[in-house]
């Protein structure tokens, strides 16, 4: 009986996808539905939850700190996109070039930061961007006669530190994605183009960039998500979730502050749902524009 069941061609596929479906339902669908429900309730751990309608959302719409967090996350995401897509692509092309010197060394050197824990990296960057004269960046600026800068107390300077951390950490990872994308482009195309007299720049713009499109879209999609969901980097850089004037507060940071620090889980759930909506809208638009939903042409 069991043997028949397991060997049945109709049943087998379902059995094989079952673990994935279960994981998806238990760790994604259920929490999503439950936090959707929670976002309409007043939930304080240890107390009885009760339904309060759309109060959490109306409160959220009047919450200036939440909008500050949304703005911070959006700016961070845009900056990381602007830096962490073109530059890794360029470096990948350079490293992929056979005449490049010490290619393997550069590959590992760029990738190394990704292996470092965010906690350690964030702490080191916090010390580097410290406001005292003796901290690394200020002592370098001092050589050029620049007065010490309070990096982590200003909006712009704070973001310089934050984006520097992201760049240092993720450059190598994105480069690796592009490198693997480049491996899929046959050398013949370049040879043919060279024979036809295409310059290096033309080869890059006419062959490399278009053929890297699937990789670029993938990197773009995960970068949008990662940018909007950033939390630990900011938390480590400012040594806690409370940066001066909330300059480093992100949407997830705000969710954490409301849900965990203030034990207001219903409100935090509303923040989470809004974050999900923002991410979905941006990513789906982006994917639709880049034609990822079209059927592959034969």
């Amino acid at each position: 009986m069991i043997k028949n069941f397991l060997y049945s061609q109709k049943v087998a596929p379902y059995v094989f996808v079952l673990p994935f479906v279960l994981v998806f339902i238990i760790f994604w669908v259920y929490p999503l539905l439950s936090s959707f429900g929670m976002s309409f309730q007043k939930v304080t751990l240890g107390q009885e939850a009760h339904f309060i309608g759309a109060d959490n959302y109306t409160k959220l719409m009047g919450d200036t700190i939440f909008f500050k967090a949304v703005r911070n996350s959006a700016v961070y995401m845009l900056l990381t996109l602007v830096i962490l897509i073109p530059f890794p692509m360029l470096f990948a092309v350079l490293i992929n070039n056979k005449s490049m010197w010490a290619r393997e060394f550069f590959k590992s050197a760029f990738f190394f930061p990704a292996l470092t824990s965010v906690v350690v990296a964030g702490t080191i960057f916090r010390l580097m961007f410290g406001e005292m004269e003796g901290s690394l960046i200020n002592s370098i600026l001092g050589v050029f006669g620049v007065e010490p800068v309070k990096f982590l107390k200003g909006q712009t300077t704070g973001f310089i530190a934050l984006v520097a951390l992201a760049t240092w950490r993720w450059m190598g990872v994105n480069m690796l994605y592009f490198l693997s994308g480049l491996k899929n482009i046959p050398d013949d195309y370049y040879e043919a183009a060279s024979i036809d007299g295409a310059s290096a720049f033309q080869r890059f713009t006419r062959i490399t960039v278009p053929l890297l499109k699937p990789t670029t879209i993938y990197v773009l999609t995960i970068s949008i998500y990662a940018g909007l969901a950033m939390f630990i980097e900011s938390m480590m850089l400012w040594n806690g979730n409370n940066s001066p004037k909330n300059i480093g507060l992100t949407i997830v940071g705000y969710l954490y502050r409301q849900g965990i620090e203030k034990n207001n889980l219903g409100y935090a759930a509303a923040v989470g749902i809004v974050l999900l909506l923002i991410t979905m809208v941006i990513n789906l638009t982006q994917l639709a524009f880049s034609g990822m939903f079209k059927k592959e042409e034969d």
Partner: protein, 444 residues
């Protein structure tokens, strides 16, 4: 047949593997843990204790030895876990509210305490064990951690706020700290210090409310009204911050790395003699002896300057309530032990000896052999005896209330408002009005 064996083997190995996973992940809480034995025997009950101040563990270690010697049939081993401030409170909050994974005993900081009293507190009332000590300890310190007549936390100290002056810098500038009575005197002295030495007299705190609190307490005002409602844009608050801003504009005080004297960056700044004064609760002494060793023999303690002569010269700042959670292994044992370790006369003497805090049993303040013991590290470190100052101001220690609005008020002032005023020079009234609006919005 072979297949069956193979499948059975796979299933078996999966179960073993999964079971292994389950075991290894249980009972792990990050932070540094150590088990204090305190001379306990085999039968001792092991209680877990979470704190965010490493030094508190040292005090409990001493009291544990005494407890175990005095109670051979109720001995305790204490499993102490030290975690960073935010981490510990967040973890404790979740553990206590869900009823899973909480320690038996924990320290909760005054600013976070109201969060734990929300709704139906998941902490054990301590009235029965505190009762025997009523009358010997400062009543307001018991009230501080109470709700509806139930005491939920046992205080560690009064936290009388004083001025810590670096006498070396002041001597260079020709200033005598003993002549500073009002903030006006402080300003004059500060201008002199800046002109002569180029150093700042004090700090303009952006990440803590010690200064705002002490100036409100001097005016008998508070961050909340009698009903516990937030009021941060009162005339008293405007007066306090205007005075501080004026000091900043005259180079008397300046913002400090870390945002306030009780941070690692600030210890470095004080240690290198860049700031001459800190206005902090008395427990800051332990920071001097532990983290600012270079200043030994140079720091004098004095009453705070006042806005007008005759105002109260101190207030009780900060504090930690030690609690017993509802899920404690042995509730009565835990309660009896913390009462003994924090409220008994012996405990209060040790709190001074080990931690350098001003004990809440004020009869200790009069015990000259304890407070003036020449071997005591704090007596050795400071220029004058802390208790000479404490006894001078003992009738002048006001309190700032801790209400359910306090954590939010604190958060808004310390992340936004004080930074806007001292870093960006935003108009004080405007900054405080904005803060009031934000706080009301968050408390809706």
């Amino acid at each position: 047949m072979k297949n069956k064996w193979f499948i059975s083997l796979m299933v078996l190995s999966m179960i073993v593997f999964l079971a292994g996973c389950g075991k290894s992940s249980s009972n792990s809480s990050s932070g540094e843990s150590s088990v204090l034995n305190g001379g306990a025997g085999e039968k001792a009950t092991e209680l877990s204790y979470w704190t965010f101040v490493e030094l508190h563990g040292q005090h409990f270690e001493k009291m544990l030895e005494k407890w175990n010697a005095a109670n051979p049939d109720r001995q305790i081993k204490l499993n102490v876990t030290v975690m960073p401030y935010d981490d510990m409170h967040n973890k404790l909050s979740i553990a206590v509210q869900t009823g899973v994974g909480a320690p038996d005993i924990a320290d909760i900081e005054l600013g976070k305490f109201p969060d734990f009293l929300a709704g139906d507190p998941q902490l054990e009332p301590l009235n029965d064990v505190a009762e025997p000590y009523k009358g010997t300890v400062v009543q307001s310190q018991l009230d501080l951690y109470s709700k509806n007549g139930n005491i939920y936390g046992l205080s560690t100290h009064v936290g009388a706020t004083v001025a810590f002056y670096n006498t070396e810098i002041l001597e260079q500038a020709g200033v005598d700290y003993k002549t500073i009575v009002t903030w006006e005197d402080f300003k004059k002295a500060g201008i002199q210090v800046y002109e002569k030495t180029g150093k700042y007299m004090g700090t303009a705190d952006t990440s803590a409310t010690w200064q705002a609190s002490l100036l409100l307490a001097q005016q008998n005002s508070d961050f909340t009204d009698a009903d516990g409602k937030p009021q941060v844009n009162t005339p008293e608050m405007v007066r306090a911050l205007t005075m501080l801003k004026d000091l900043q504009d005259n180079n008397v005080i300046s913002t400090i790395a870390g945002g306030q004297p009780d941070t690692e960056e600030a210890y470095g700044e004080f240690n290198s003699g860049n700031y001459a004064t800190a206005f902090m609760p008395l427990w800051q002494m332990s920071r001097y002896t532990n983290y600012m060793k270079d200043l030994s023999g140079k720091i004098a303690i004095a009453p705070l300057p006042v806005l007008e002569k005759g105002m109260h010269r101190s207030y009780g700042g900060g504090g930690t309530g030690t609690v017993v959670t509802k899920t404690a292994k042995d509730v009565q044992l835990a309660k009896d032990f913390i009462a003994y370790a924090k409220l008994s006369l012996d405990a209060n003497i040790e709190i001074w000896n080990t931690l350098g805090f001003d004990p809440i049993n004020m009869s200790v303040w009069d015990m000259k052999e304890v407070t003036h013991n020449p071997d005591n590290q704090f007596v050795k470190y400071f220029v004058n005896n802390p208790f000479d100052v404490l006894n001078e101001i003992r009738e002048e220690i006001n309190l700032i209330r801790s209400t359910s609005a306090s954590p939010t008020i604190n958060n808004v002032l310390c992340t936004v408002t004080l930074n806007e005023i001292f870093e960006d020079g935003k108009d004080i009234q405007k900054a405080l009005d904005d803060a009031q609006t934000q706080i009301e919005q968050e408390l809706k």
